[in-house]
Subunit: 284 residues, 2 copies
């Protein structure tokens, strides 16, 4: 079952929030799907909620993680919220195709102003969301409110500072840094993963436990090279080309050279390392 | 039992090889011991050789890893080699104190010119050694020769590019970069971890398998903050102060500010991430 709610908060949400650094194109939706499928086991391992649990996915986007959350936790009562109506429509279609029996309420609105009573959820899950918020502590505090005492929050974030590639290349490094800079200009933080422990602590969560979940790909793992290095990470960097040029951060030649050199990490003899961070904490 | 060999190659080895970026002080020997004890489980897990195996530890240094290798593999016939006679003496004392019954032959000499016949060893182990070699492929090729066909090589290296700290700080980042730059000037590579797969492949090893072994420390793990962030990583950076100043890379003020800001990663609210890389491969 999938249902949709419409709330006053939802009415205030823009169709295309302009500050989502990765954009809203179809290519980007496919990239997010590729990324989620490649990383599902790495990121979702250890997260399984009992059937009947009231779970909130805050910032479900195009549903890339939603389908994996539902696969790991059959029988949960999921509320999936996002700021973008277009993303929600894609998420709904994805869940209808991959988990047609799932019990999902779709909520169009801002996670800072959720219309749910205090303590409405047993568990809150969010993945690649805090990195986009100007004030992640405020976002976490808003989620703290709708979580029942004793309930858990699970947060997964990347940290682009952890991107290590061989061959090392100053041009490639600059190009990755453009992504971080653009995200900072949009009010976000591409280096947020390392901050999860202090952020959750500041938002009054207890028993905060953070662990890196690391992807490392070399010639011995061609599927990961293709699925992660090339189609997730390099694709994410490539996707900010127009924005980086418009912002005057780089020239077409320099950007393209950076991408070409970054792509060598996905060619024979190349290697790539990236650390996600996964946090679990409890509302006291 | 511990014995010591003296060979023509050993006679050519300098007492104090000048290009070891971390130096040879007593403080440094203690730092290496702290580091090894904190990281022993992380780095040595999965490495256990059958009793009776002929094992070579190439570049045993002060024996910081040697004692852990012996603890994990009781009954091996270990040859521990190092370029520095002083380090070997410290290693010998450490093993005498912690593993008095171990069967160890101490060899003073250069791993590129080991006086052992082809195929002398069932297993070769080296930790934090390749990062110091001007030509790590040549070093690996020399070890390939003394390994019997079907024997394994295990290589552990760090990669200073993986150091992520919160709070992020440009001064701290520059100070970490000095370490990388000094190591490069000495002919080494502080970013070697990510290169292990291509290096072992180039040296004709087969079934090369590399995995990151990551340390992450925050307020929830005070012993790791103390043992790794402060006493291992920050201490390693602090130890190159004189060398960085002599090389004109920085000023006392800038260096000290960088260390002060780096140290915040070990204070309340701080976090620290570092990836080691562990490779296992086979001589075909």
């Amino acid at each position: 079952m999938t249902t949709e709610t419409s709330t006053p908060a939802a009415a205030a949400a823009p169709e295309h929030p302009s500050d989502y650094v990765h954009g809203y194109s179809r290519t980007e939706a496919r990239r997010l799907g590729d990324q989620a499928d490649t990383l599902a086991e790495l990121l979702h391992a250890g997260t399984a909620y009992p059937a009947g649990s009231r779970v909130l996915e805050a910032g479900c986007g195009v549903g890339a993680q939603t389908v994996h959350l539902l696969a790991a936790s059959p029988g949960v009562r999921l509320t999936a919220a996002d700021l973008s109506a277009d993303s929600l429509a894609l998420a709904r279609a994805r869940v209808a195709a991959q988990a047609p029996a799932a019990d999902v309420v779709w909520h169009h609105g801002d996670l800072h102003r959720l219309p749910f009573p205090d303590g409405s959820f047993d568990h809150v899950f969010l993945c690649f969301v805090l990195e986009h918020l100007p004030d992640p502590t405020a976002g976490l505090a808003a989620l703290h409110r709708v979580l029942r005492p004793g309930g858990t929050i699970t947060v997964i974030e990347g940290d682009h500072g952890s991107a290590l590639f061989h061959p090392e290349s100053p041009a490639a490094r600059r190009t990755v840094d453009h992504l971080v800079r653009l995200q900072a200009r949009a009010g976000g933080d591409g280096l947020l993963g390392r901050r999860l422990h202090p952020l959750l602590t500041a938002a009054s969560f207890a028993r905060v436990s953070v662990r890196p979940r690391t992807v490392y790909a070399d010639d011995s793992r061609p599927a990961l090279v293709e699925g992660f290095t090339r189609r997730t990470f390099v694709a994410m960097v490539e996707a900010v080309r127009a924005e980086a040029l418009a912002a005057g951060l780089t020239t077409p030649e320099d950007f393209d050279r950076g991408v070409t050199e970054l792509r060598r990490a996905a060619e024979p003899g190349g290697t790539f390392h990236y650390a996600f961070f996964k946090a679990v904490a409890v509302r006291p």
